[in-house]
């Protein structure tokens, strides 16, 4: 799996190029719309809230998440154990993003949106969910550092590499 990972990541990038290409070809360049009363504030553009754009956004967002998780697995390397946590974390991450997208579709239709911890539901998914979901990876890193990232054996190997290099450089000089 790890040997094919770079090719998989390349495939993801090509797909993102296609999605972005569609957006750039189909969309129009529209200037920021100034608030009618306060010039330094912007107001929203209904064209950016169309269903087709929302779907394109969901596809792009999921691609980004899969790309991010794949890069993390690339960084972890072949030898680290417990990589299933990345699959689990990725699924949670994508689920949170999907929940954000789905609730956002309903949000604009509500007269009096529900607030969760002071923010509308989709915004709460963004602020609390999208920020927190990836922390599973950082927790894995911190808790499993000595088992998965830098073992005592790794340190010994590394010291040997550094010592050999210094001995060679001293010998050459």
């Amino acid at each position: 799996m790890t040997k094919r990972l770079p090719a998989f990541i390349f495939g993801l990038l090509l797909t993102m190029c296609v999605v972005l290409g569609i957006a750039l070809l189909v969309g129009e360049v529209t200037p920021n719309r100034s608030h009618l009363q306060y010039a330094a504030m912007d107001r929203s553009d209904p064209a950016l809230q169309e269903t087709a754009v929302a779907w394109l956004g969901w596809v792009l967002g999921v691609l980004e998440i899969v790309f991010f998780v794949s890069c993390l697995v690339l960084g972890v390397g072949r030898r680290a154990r417990g990589k299933r946590v990345f699959l689990l974390g990725g699924l949670v991450y994508a689920a949170v993003f999907t929940a954000l997208t789905v609730t956002d579709a309903w949000y604009m239709e509500q007269d009096a949106p529900t607030l969760v911890l002071s923010f509308p539901v989709p915004t709460a998914w963004m602020l609390y969910g999208m920020w927190a979901a990836p922390l599973i990876f950082m927790a894995w890193y911190w808790i499993g550092f000595d088992r998965n990232i830098l073992t005592p054996e790794d340190m010994e190997t590394f010291r040997g590499i550094v010592q050999d290099r210094r001995n060679r450089e001293e010998g050459e000089s």
């Binding site: 770079p6 090719a7 990038l13 993102m16 190029c17 972005l20 957006a23 750039l24 969309g27 360049v29 200037p31 920021n32 719309r33 608030h35 009363q37 306060y38 010039a39 330094a40 504030m41 912007d42 929203s44 553009d45 950016l48 809230q49 754009v53 394109l56 956004g57 967002g61 980004e64 991010f68 890069c71 993390l72 690339l74 390397g77 956002d104 949000y107 604009m108 607030l115 002071s118 923010f119 509308p120 989709p122 915004t123 998914w125 963004m126 920020w131 979901a133 990836p134 922390l135 990876f137 950082m138 890193y141 911190w142 990232i149 830098l150 790794d154 190997t157 590394f158 590499i161 050999d164």
Partner: protein
């Protein structure tokens, strides 16, 4: 005390400037070589490094530009904050250990030094140095603009001094910055990072609670006020829209691993094993400090919509005017001092890496050796870089945050593939590194300097990053596997 508000703020800012100068003089005595000037002797502890990493990340861009963008666009720019969960995970897993291991093997003075050894390529070193210089100009211009904007706002309220032009404020800001940078180098940068990082955390928490109480009903009421005016502004995509926000999310999530002024610091910690704790310390610090970004932007938009506060002429005024109007005078003074501290220590990091690129990396790439009297030339290059960046900031009328986004994007498109990916993937080639940097930089500069806006407010930096990553992976996959330095290859196995 309210009558003396402006005086208190000026005193706090002045006191901070004096502390900077003192640290600069102290660091001058410890800076005896270009290695001290650029790498601080690789002797820093976890806490110092962790706080330095986060405070380099959050700067004028976050303290002035961020609230300005929230004021202008609603929740759109919060994607630049929300990305820190995944962004710091990238820094931890892709870089923290890897960079520190390389630092011990390569004994570098700069990031291009490490790139040159990893790819066995002086052209890759050269391209990296050029990318750093180009990114520094844009990003440093944003810092200088932030400083000058805030200084102008503070000074204009003091009748004894009166109005000063933005250009005059740029000159005053740069004078202190350059003195501090020239004398202290990276040692001064890191230790002021520590001080201002702690100030930022304390200030941000206090500002958060102040903002909550500045608007009757707190954040829930602010949300309702903003939603009543424009529901989309409080939605997850703000007024920018879904594709614009996701392009920022992509650029800012990955981009942290390509910011040389941040990642260089990951090579300076004393022990390799410190890599475990540095990033979590940074993440916590950043998370607390980002409260200021979110709270000031939202409360100012709500206050203006409510009619309580006059409309702003420029969104970048959101933070200074909030502090001048609603914060306790002493808190205001502390936060302004912290704000200058944040800007200056990040700017110091930029000047330091630009000086390394000019006097160390480019001469090595072209002539195979560094300049004689490298420390003297480093100080000269520091001054020259500040002058060019100051001129750039006056030429471009962009908001602080948008100038910063351009600078961030320039670093990201060049260095994310080469460093974050290439340091973890043995198959990555020097050709891929060079071509991806060229493609990324040409794309982002064409879009920015050509004034080309993209549909759906998609950020040009994100498009450039996708392109440079695609080129990097594509060329590497279809090229012959490179022959690495044997020690580098063994280190990449760890």
């Amino acid at each position: 005390m309210e009558g003396a508000r402006n005086t208190i703020v000026l005193v706090c800012v002045g006191l901070y400037m004096v502390i900077c100068i003192i640290v600069g003089v102290w660091a001058l005595r410890r800076t005896r070589s270009s290695r001290d000037f650029f790498m601080a002797g690789r002797d820093l502890g976890v806490f110092v490094t962790g706080i330095a990493v986060f405070s380099s990340t959050l700067s004028g861009f976050g303290f002035v530009g961020g609230p300005g963008l929230v004021y202008r666009m609603g929740m759109s720019s919060i994607w630049m904050v929300v990305c820190t969960g995944i962004g710091f995970s990238f820094s931890a897993i892709l870089l923290a250990k890897r960079l520190r291991l390389f630092a011990e093997v390569c004994d570098p003075v700069s990031l291009p030094d490490v790139v040159a050894v990893r790819y066995r390529s002086e052209s890759a070193r050269f391209m990296t140095a050029i990318a750093i210089l180009l990114g520094v100009i844009g990003y440093l211009a944003a810092q200088i603009k932030a400083m000058a904007t805030v200084l102008q706002d503070i000074v204009s309220r003091n009748s004894a001094i009166g109005d000063l032009s933005l250009a005059t404020c740029v000159v005053i800001s740069c004078a202190v910055l350059v003195f501090y940078c020239v004398t202290g180098g990276i040692i001064a940068s890191v230790y002021t990072d520590l001080f201002q990082g702690l100030v930022m955390i304390v200030a941000a928490i206090l500002v958060f609670f102040t903002a909550m109480h500045a608007f009757p009903g707190g954040f829930a009421s602010m949300s309702e006020t903003i939603m009543a005016d424009d529901p989309a502004a409080m939605g997850p995509w703000g007024t920018l829209g879904v594709l614009g926000c996701l392009s920022w999310y992509f650029l800012f999530s990955l981009g942290g691993t390509g910011q040389p002024h941040i990642i260089t610091k990951m090579m300076m910690n004393k022990r390799v094993r410190d890599a475990r704790n540095i990033i979590p310390v940074s993440f916590l610090g950043y998370g607390l400090s980002a409260l200021l970004w979110i709270s000031i932007g939202l409360v100012m938009r709500a206050l203006v919509l409510q009619g309580t506060h006059p409309s702003l002429d420029n969104p970048d005024q959101a933070a200074p005017q909030f502090l001048q109007t609603y914060a306790h005078p002493i808190l205001s003074g502390v936060v302004f001092a912290g704000l200058f501290a944040a800007i200056m220590s990040t700017a110091d990091g930029f000047l330091n890496i630009a000086a390394a690129a000019i006097v160390h990396d480019i001469p090595r790439a072209i002539w195979g050796k560094s300049l004689k009297r490298e420390l003297l030339w480093a100080r000269t290059a520091t001054v020259a870089t500040a002058v060019v960046a100051a001129a750039f900031c006056l030429m471009y009328d962009d908001l602080v945050a948008l100038l910063g986004a351009f600078g961030w994007g320039t670093f990201a498109v060049a260095l994310v593939p080469v460093v974050a990916i290439g340091f973890n993937w043995k198959r990555a080639t020097a050709l891929a590194a060079n071509v991806s940097m060229a493609v990324g930089l040409v794309t982002i500069f064409t879009l920015k300097l050509g004034g080309i806006n993209l549909p759906y407010h998609i950020d040009g930096g994100a498009v450039a990053l996708v392109l440079s990553l695609t080129v990097f992976f594509g060329i590497s996959l279809f090229s012959k596997p490179p022959k690495l330095d044997p020690d580098v290859e063994k280190v990449m196995e760890i």
